[in-house]
C-alpha cells in the first residue's frame, strides 16, 4: 500500500470527508451522485489499467482510445450478429488483446516509436469502426443489473458498490487483482523491473521481450473489458466516436494515479465525482452559472489538485525505449 497512501493523496481524504458531510445533509441525493460517479469512473479506471499494465513494463500505450473503441464495436457487432452478448463479450476481449499484440509487434519486435504505434492504433480504430458500422443493428439485451443480496442493503455503500452489472463487478475485481499482482507477485516484480531497467531483468535471466508481449496483450484484454462494459452493460448500443476521448483521459488518470492501479482508481473516482456533481448542479438548478463552467470544472480541479500536490510523478524509467540487448 505504501506506494499509494502517500500524503500527496490526502486530497482523497478530503473528498471522502466532503462526501460524508454531504451525505449527512442529504443521503439519497449523495448516494445517487456517488453511484453515478462510480458508473462514470469504472470505464475510465479500466482504461487507465490498460496504460498501467503496458507502461509498467516499459511500453507507452497511447492507443487506449482506439482499443476501447474497437472492442466496444466488436462487442456490439458480434452480439447483434449472434444475438448472444456473451459471444460479444468474448469478441471484445479477443479484439482487445489482438490490438495489444499489434502494439507489441510494432514496439517490441520492430522497435518502432511507441507513440507512433499507439497513434496508428487510434486512427485505425476510428476509421475501421466507422467504416464497418452499419446502422439499425441492435443487441438482444444488455448485461442485467444484479444487486448483491444483503450487501445491497447497506446504506450508501449498497447502492454505490453492489447494485451494478456483472462487468462492473468483474472490472473492480480486475483492478484490485492488478494491484496485488503488480506489487506482491513475482510476475509484478519482474514486470516492474523490465519497465524500470530492462537490462537488469535481462541479466537476471528474465526475458524482456516475452514479458512485454504477455503484459501488453493482457492490457489489451482489459481494454476489451472496458469496451464491452460501455457497449454491453452501461449503454447497450454503439455509435461512431462512442468512447468520446475516454482513452486520453485515462492517460491523465494513469499519471495522476502515479502508475498505481489503486491510485488510478481513486483518480478516476475523483473525476467521476466531479462529473456527477456537475450534473447535480444542473439538476438542482442551484447555480445559474453557464453550463460551460460546470462542465470544465473536473478538468480545472484535476489540474489544481496536481499542482498543489506537486506530484513530481516519475514514469517507469525504461518507458518508450525499445530494448537492445547489445547495450546492456
Amino acid at each position: 500500500m505504501k506506494e499509494f497512501l502517500t500524503k500527496r493523496n490526502s486530497f482523497i481524504g478530503i473528498i471522502v470527508l466532503a462526501t460524508a458531510f454531504l451525505y449527512s445533509k442529504d443521503g439519497s441525493i449523495t448516494t445517487s451522485v456517488v453511484s453515478t460517479a462510480t458508473a462514470f469512473a469504472l470505464p475510465l479506471a479500466l482504461a487507465a489499467m490498460v496504460g498501467i499494465m503496458c507502461e509498467r513494463t516499459g511500453i507507452v500505450n497511447i492507443g487506449i482510445e482506439g482499443t476501447l473503441l474497437t472492442s466496444a464495436f466488436a462487442a456490439f457487432f458480434v452480439s447483434s450478429l449472434t444475438s448472444n452478448i456473451l459471444l460479444g463479450f468474448a469478441a471484445s476481449v479477443a479484439v482487445g488483446s489482438l490490438l495489444g499484440l499489434l502494439l507489441a509487434v510494432m514496439s517490441v519486435s520492430w522497435k518502432m516509436d511507441q507513440i507512433i504505434a499507439g497513434t496508428i492504433i487510434n486512427i485505425l480504430a476510428t476509421g475501421l469502426t466507422s467504416f464497418l458500422y452499419v446502422q439499425g443493428r441492435t443487441i438482444p439485451s444488455t448485461f442485467p443489473e444484479y444487486d448483491i443480496p444483503k450487501l445491497k442493503d447497506i446504506p450508501f455503500f449498497g447502492p454505490v458498490l453492489f447494485m451494478h452489472g456483472p462487468l462492473f463487478y468483474f472490472g473492480i475485481f480486475v483492478i484490485l487483482s492488478l494491484y496485488v499482482a503488480l506489487f506482491k507477485t513475482t510476475w509484478g516484480l519482474r514486470s516492474r523491473a523490465v519497465g524500470e531497467h530492462p537490462s537488469s531483468a535481462d541479466t537476471a535471466g528474465v526475458s524482456v521481450a516475452r514479458l512485454r508481449y504477455i503484459n501488453v496483450a493482457i492490457a489489451g484484454a482489459i481494454g476489451g473489458l472496458a469496451g464491452a462494459f460501455l457497449s454491453l452493460e452501461l449503454v447497450g448500443s454503439f455509435e461512431r466516436g462512442f468512447t468520446a476521448g475516454k482513452g486520453f483521459t485515462a492517460l491523465a488518470l494513469m499519471i495522476f494515479g502515479r502508475w498505481n492501479p489503486l491510485g488510478a482508481l481513486a483518480a478516476a473516482m475523483f473525476f467521476g465525482m466531479t462529473q456527477a456533481y456537475a450534473n447535480q448542479l444542473m439538476i438542482d438548478q442551484v447555480v445559474q452559472i453557464p453550463t460551460q463552467f460546470i462542465t470544465i470544472l473536473p478538468y480545472i480541479l484535476t489540474i489544481i489538485v496536481l499542482a498543489i500536490s506537486a506530484g513530481k510523478v516519475r514514469a517507469p524509467a525504461a518507458e518508450g525505449q525499445p530494448y537492445e540487448k547489445e547495450n546492456a
Binding site: W110, D113, Q114, I116, I120, L124, P290, T302, A315, E319
Partner: protein, 353 residues
C-alpha cells in the same frame, strides 16, 4: 543532431516512404473494392482534384497549412522532450484571439491589421502552452495531463466566451462576427498565403534547432535534463520556453486558419487540427522539414475526400484508414528492412524525463 540533419538528405529516406505510401494505397484500394467503389477512378479523382489542377492543389495546400503548423508545434515540443497533446487547445485559443482582433479593430490598413491579428493568435496559443510548461517546470505536473485537461477547458471556455460575450449580434449559432476585409490573408499566385508562412516557419525552425544555441539547449534538455542542468542550462526556463513556443506556433496555426480560410471563429472549424498535428509530427519523425511532405499528402487526401465520395462513392472514413495505413507502413521497418537493415529510432521518449 548532426545525425538527424544528415537523415533528411539521404535518398533512402525519400524512396522508402514513397513505396510505403504505394503499399498503403493498394490496401486501401482493396477495401474500396470490398465497399463496392472503384479504386482506380477514386485515386484518379484524388490526384486530378488534389494535385492535378492549380485550384485543386491550392485547396490541398489550404488543408496542409494548419497541418504543417500544428505538426511543427508538436515537433518543437518533442525536441525538448515534451509531448504536447494540447496543440488542439492552443490552436483554438489562438483562433479565437485572432478572430476577435480581426473583427474588433476597424479602419486599419492590412499591413497593420494582419500582423496584429496574427500576434493575438500567437499570444494566446503561447499563453495556454506556457501554463502547461510552467506547471511542469515549477510544480512537476506532467505536461500530458495538463495539456489533455487544458484541451477540454479551452473547448468549454472558448465556447462560453463566444456564447456570452463575442457572439455575432442576432446570431443563434455559437460563432463570432466575420473579420474585417483588412485582416484577410491574400492569395499568392493562386496559392494560399498561409502556406508560404508555414513553410517559412518550418525552415526557420529547422535552422534554429540545428544551428543555434537555443536549439542546442532544447535538444539537450530533451535528451538528458541532468546533463543539461550540469552544463548550466536552465532546465526550468527551457521547459517553459519550449511549451510557450510550441503553443505559440499552434496558436499561429489557428490564426492563419482564421485569417485565411474561416474568416471567423466557430468551434467546429478547428476540430481535429491539433490532433492531426501529432500524426504529422510523428510521420515526419519530429523533423521540422520532415513534416512538410506528410502534411501535404494528408492535406491532399482531406481535400479530395468529398470528391472521391461524389465521383467514386468512396466512404469518407477510408481517408482515415488510408492515413493509418500510411503512418504504419512509413514507420514500420517492414519496408525499411527491405532496403537496409536499420531499425527505426525513437522520436519520442515516452513520458520519461
Amino acid at each position: 543532431m548532426t545525425q538527424t540533419k544528415k537523415k533528411s538528405f539521404d535518398v533512402g529516406n525519400w524512396l522508402i516512404p514513397m513505396i510505403a505510401v504505394l503499399i498503403a494505397m493498394t490496401i486501401a484500394g482493396i477495401m474500396m473494392k470490398i465497399q463496392g467503389a472503384d479504386p482506380f477512378s477514386a485515386y484518379k479523382t484524388l490526384f486530378t482534384t488534389s494535385f492535378g489542377s492549380v485550384k485543386g492543389f491550392s485547396a490541398t495546400l489550404g488543408k496542409a497549412t494548419p497541418l504543417v503548423i500544428s505538426g511543427l508545434a508538436v515537433t518543437i515540443g518533442l525536441r525538448a522532450g515534451l509531448f504536447n497533446i494540447g496543440a488542439q487547445g492552443q490552436l483554438i485559443s489562438g483562433a479565437l484571439g485572432t478572430a476577435w482582433a480581426g473583427y474588433t479593430f476597424t479602419g486599419l490598413p492590412a499591413i497593420i491589421h494582419l500582423p496584429i491579428a496574427i500576434l493575438f493568435g500567437v499570444f494566446f496559443g503561447a499563453f495556454v502552452g506556457s501554463i502547461a510548461g510552467a506547471l511542469k517546470a515549477y510544480r512537476g505536473v506532467h505536461e500530458v495531463i495538463t495539456t489533455i485537461m487544458l484541451n477540454s477547458i479551452i473547448m468549454g471556455l472558448s465556447d462560453y466566451l463566444v456564447v456570452y460575450h463575442f457572439r455575432e449580434p442576432g446570431q443563434l449559432l455559437t460563432r463570432t462576427s466575420e473579420i474585417q476585409k483588412s485582416a484577410r490573408l491574400p492569395i499568392l499566385f493562386g496559392l494560399p498565403f498561409g502556406f508560404f508562412i508555414a513553410i517559412a516557419l518550418a525552415i526557420l525552425a529547422w535552422w534554429v534547432m540545428a544551428n543555434t544555441t537555443s536549439g542546442f539547449r532544447f535538444e539537450t534538455v530533451g535528451r538528458n535534463k541532468f546533463a543539461a542542468w550540469y552544463a548550466g542550462i536552465s532546465v526550468k526556463r527551457t521547459l517553459v520556453t519550449a511549451m510557450m513556443i510550441s503553443g505559440g506556433i499552434a496558436g499561429l496555426g489557428g490564426a492563419i486558419e482564421t485569417l485565411g480560410v474561416t474568416y471567423r471563429f466557430e468551434p467546429a472549424f478547428n476540430a481535429g487540427l491539433g490532433f492531426d498535428g501529432i500524426t504529422i509530427a510523428l510521420l515526419g519523425r519530429a523533423h521540422p522539414l520532415g513534416i512538410i511532405p506528410g502534411a501535404i499528402l494528408i492535406g491532399g487526401m482531406r481535400a479530395g475526400a468529398s470528391n472521391m465520395q461524389f465521383v467514386a462513392g468512396v466512404a469518407t472514413e477510408l481517408v482515415d484508414l488510408l492515413m493509418a495505413l500510411i503512418l504504419f507502413f512509413v514507420t514500420a521497418p517492414l519496408v525499411t528492412r527491405f532496403f537496409k537493415n536499420s531499425g527505426s529510432k525513437a522520436v519520442t521518449g515516452g513520458w520519461g524525463n
